[in-house]
Symmetry: C2
C-alpha cells in the first residue's frame, strides 16, 4: 500500500536525513562487528552517574509509593516542582514559584511544547547560527521560519542580532521569540559573555520579544561565570527550557518549562493531550535525587570534575595533534566545534573518518541555518573515556593531514 | 507582562477547560482536607500492579546496564521492539516486524505523533462519538476537523459511518483517517462486534482511508472476543497506537505505533525533535517484565481478575441502586458510561455530586463531538477499591433520586 497521499505537508526531511545517514551508517558498521570510537553522542557518561543509587531510589519508590506507577498531573508532581524551585534558587540564582514550573518529557519535550504554543506557521524565530538541530527541526515542523544569528567565542553576535531584527522589521516580518543556548551552546560549545547577555535582554525589551533560554548545559560548567538570562530578567521576557538530562542521564526524560501568565496557562491546557505527563518514575527518582543532596554529592563534587578532565584531554589532544586547526574551547557543555579548512565538506569527512578510521563524529553543517558551516564537525567529550578521546583525536588528525 | 500576543492561534480551550474545572475543584477540595471517592481516574489499580517486582527490575537495570540512563534510538530499544513483536503475535494474533514498531511516550505520545504526521490543518478525521477527549483535543490542536459517528452497544455505528462518508464526499471534504478504540472504548466502555469490525475494514478499503486503531484497552478484556482490527487487516490500512499503560501503570509512558512504509519513515524522521525517545528506564522495565513472563503471571492470572471483580461490583451496584437508569455494560476497559435522564446536565450533576456527596466523576459531555452527550457521566471502576465503588454508586444514586 502507498501511504504518501495520507501524509501531512509539514516536515523537513532534509536536515534530519543528513545527520540520520551518518548515525545509520555507524549503527550498520557496529552491527557488522566493527569497533568504533564515538565522539558523537549528546549523552553524559553513564559511569559518572550514580546508577546504583538511582536504582535503589527507583526500587524504594516503586515499592512504597503507589502513585509512582500512575499518571501525574500534567504539570508534574508538586513535590518535584517545589524541589526544583529550591534547586534553581540555589544553583541558578533566581526565585520562581513552583506554580510556574511545568515538568516536561525532557528538555526536548519542553522546547517542542513551547514551539507548539508560540509558533503559528510562517512566524519568524531567531536562533543562534548554528543551533541545536532538534530544536530547529521541531520549530520548522511547526511552520517557523528560522533566522540565524552568527556565534563567536562570546556567544551570539548581539550586534548582528540587532541588525537582523531591524532588517526583518523593515520587511514586515513578525518575530515571535529568540531561542538561545547561552551556556555551553550545542553545537558550538561556547558560553555567552555577561555583556552580551545584558545586551540580548535589552534588545528583546526594545523589540518586545520573548526569549526562550535553553539551559540544558547550565549544570555542566567547568569554570568561569554564566549568570542565567532568567536571573537577569526583570520583565518576564525569558521563558526557560531546563532539564536534568545531563546530570541524571538523558534517558529519564525529566525537563521543565518556566513560564508565567498566559504562556503558562496555554501550556497547561495543551500539554495533557500531547504527552499526558512526564514519566512518573523518572520524576520520583529526580525528586529523591535532589531532596537527598545527591546533586551536590555526586554531580558537583565528582561528575563535573570527570567531565572537566575529559574536556582537557580533548583540547590537549587537538592542540598537540592539530596545532594549526581551528576549534572552540568550551568552559561549559559537552561539545567542541572543530573546523576543517574553509570549503571542505564536513559530511564527507565524517563519513570517511568513520569508514577508514573507525571514529564517529557529527557533521556540523545540519546545525546551521544557512550554508556557512559545511566545514564544521561537532566533537563530544562527555560520553567517551579519556583514552577514546585521545585515540579518536589522533585518528581524526591523521585523516585531516591526509586530506588537507 | 501580557503574553497573549505571543501565543499561537491553534488550540481548543473550551473542551479541555470544562473537564479541567471539575478536576481542579476536586484537587481544591482535597487540599482543604475533604475526603473524596474518585470514580474519575483513567488509571489502573496500583495494588494490582506488581510494584515490588517492577522496583527490583528498575534497580537491576540501572545498576547493571550503563545504557539504561542514556538516550535510546528514537524508535526504541531494539530488544523491546522484538519482545513486543512476540507479545503481539501471542496475545493480539498478528505478526508484525520489530522494524515496524516504534516505541513512543505512552499511547498519548503515539496518537499525537500520528496526528502530527497525518493531519494538515483543515483535514477531516472520523472518530467515534463520543471518543477519548485527549485524542480529540490533540487532533484539533493540529487543525483537524472532527466528524463523530455515533456508538451503540456494539461499537461504532458503521451504517452511519458509511452515510457520513458519502455525505462528506459529496461536500468535497477530504477524510484522512478513521480513529477508533474498538475494544473497551473510552469513554463508552463498549466493544465493537466482529461484524462491525469487518464492515469497518471494508468501508475503509472502499473509501481508501487509513484506520488508526487505539488498542489501549486490549489487555483489559474480561470476557467475550475482540479480534484486533490489525489482525483482520489485509491491506495495511490499520495503524496501531498501543500501550502498556494499563498493564504496567500509566506513569511509565511506554506505548507504540505500528506503521509501515512512508508512514513509518515519516514518523522516524519527525519523532526525534519532538520527544527524542521514550523514557529509557521505563523501556527496560517493560522489556524485562515481558521477557520474564510477568505479563502472564501478574496481569493475566491476577490483575485481570481483580478488574473484572470491580466491574461486576460497579454493575451490580448500579443495577441495585438505579434499576431503571441507562448505563453501558463493558466486557473490556475501565469505564461505564452512565446516562442521566435526557436533557439533564452532566456537568452540573458532576459538580453537585462532588460537593454534596464527595464523589468525583467525569462529565461525559466533553467527550462528544457534538451536543448529544450532555447527560452522560463517565464512571471508572479500575482504580477505586470495591468498597469505594459501592459507596460511590450509592451516593450517586441518592443524588440521582433527589434530582430526577
Amino acid at each position: 500500500m502507498r501511504y504518501e497521499k495520507f501524509l501531512a505537508g509539514r516536515a523537513n526531511w532534509v536536515k534530519g536525513s543528513a545527520l540520520a545517514e551518518v548515525m545509520k551508517k555507524a549503527a550498520e558498521l557496529r552491527a557488522r562487528g566493527k569497533e568504533l570510537i564515538s565522539l558523537s553522542a549528546g549523552d553524559p557518561d553513564p559511569n559518572l552517574i550514580p546508577r546504583e543509587i538511582l536504582g535503589e531510589l527507583a526500587r524504594e519508590v516503586l515499592s512504597n509509593v503507589p502513585a509512582s506507577v500512575m499518571y501525574t498531573p500534567a504539570n508534574g508532581i508538586p513535590e518535584l516542582r517545589e524541589e526544583i524551585s529550591r534547586f534553581l534558587e540555589r544553583y541558578e540564582g533566581y526565585k520562581v514559584s513552583p506554580e510556574d514550573i511545568i515538568i516536561t518529557v525532557g528538555g526536548t519535550g519542553a522546547l517542542d511544547l513551547l514551539g507548539r504554543i508560540l509558533i503559528d506557521p510562517g512566524d519568524a524565530v531567531i536562533t543562534e547560527n548554528p543551533s541545536y538541530i532538534n530544536t530547529l527541526l521541531a520549530f520548522e515542523q511547526l511552520g517557523a521560519k528560522i533566522y540565524g544569528v552568527p556565534v563567536d567565542g562570546e556567544g551570539m553576535r548581539v550586534d548582528l542580532l540587532e541588525e537582523k531584527l531591524r532588517e526583518l522589521r523593515a520587511k514586515g516580518v513578525k518575530v515571535k521569540f529568540i531561542y538561545t543556548i547561552p551556556t555551553g551552546q550545542n553545537p558550538m560549545g561556547v558560553t555567552m559573555s555577561h555583556e552580551r547577555r545584558k545586551a540580548l535582554l535589552e534588545i528583546a525589551s526594545e523589540h518586545d520579544l520573548l526569549i526562550v533560554e535553553d539551559s540544558a548545559y547550565n549544570f555542566m560548567r567547568y569554570e568561569g561565570e554564566a549568570t542565567p538570562l532568567k536571573a537577569m530578567d526583570d520583565e518576564g521576557r525569558v521563558i526557560v527550557a531546563g532539564t536534568l538530562s545531563k546530570v541524571l542521564g538523558t534517558g529519564f526524560r525529566v525537563g521543565w518549562v518556566i513560564a508565567h501568565g498566559e504562556v503558562k496557562q496555554k501550556i497547561l491546557m495543551e500539554k495533557s493531550p500531547i504527552d499526558f505527563c512526564a514519566p512518573t518514575i523518572s520524576q520520583y527518582i529526580a525528586l529523591e535525587y535532589l531532596r537527598r543532596g545527591y546533586f551536590e554529592e555526586y554531580h558537583l563534587k565528582r561528575g563535573l570534575l570527570g567531565y572537566k578532565e575529559k574536556r582537557d584531554v580533548m583540547l590537549s589532544a587537538l592542540e598537540e595533534n592539530l596545532p594549526d586547526a581551528e576549534f572552540t574551547r568550551p568552559i561549559a557543555g559537552m561539545f567542541v566545534m572543530f573546523f576543517l579548512p574553509s570549503g571542505a565538506d564536513g559530511m564527507a569527512f565524517a563519513s570517511e573518518l568513520m569508514e577508514k578510521k573507525g571514529v564517529v563524529v557529527v557533521p556540523g553543517g545540519p546545525f546551521y541555518t544557512d550554508e556557512s558551516g559545511k566545514n564544521a564537525i561537532r566533537l563530544n567529550f562527555s560520553r567517551p573515556g579519556k583514552e577514546e578521546i585521545e585515540e579518536g583525536i589522533k585518528r581524526l588528525a591523521e585523516l585531516y593531514r591526509e586530506k588537507f
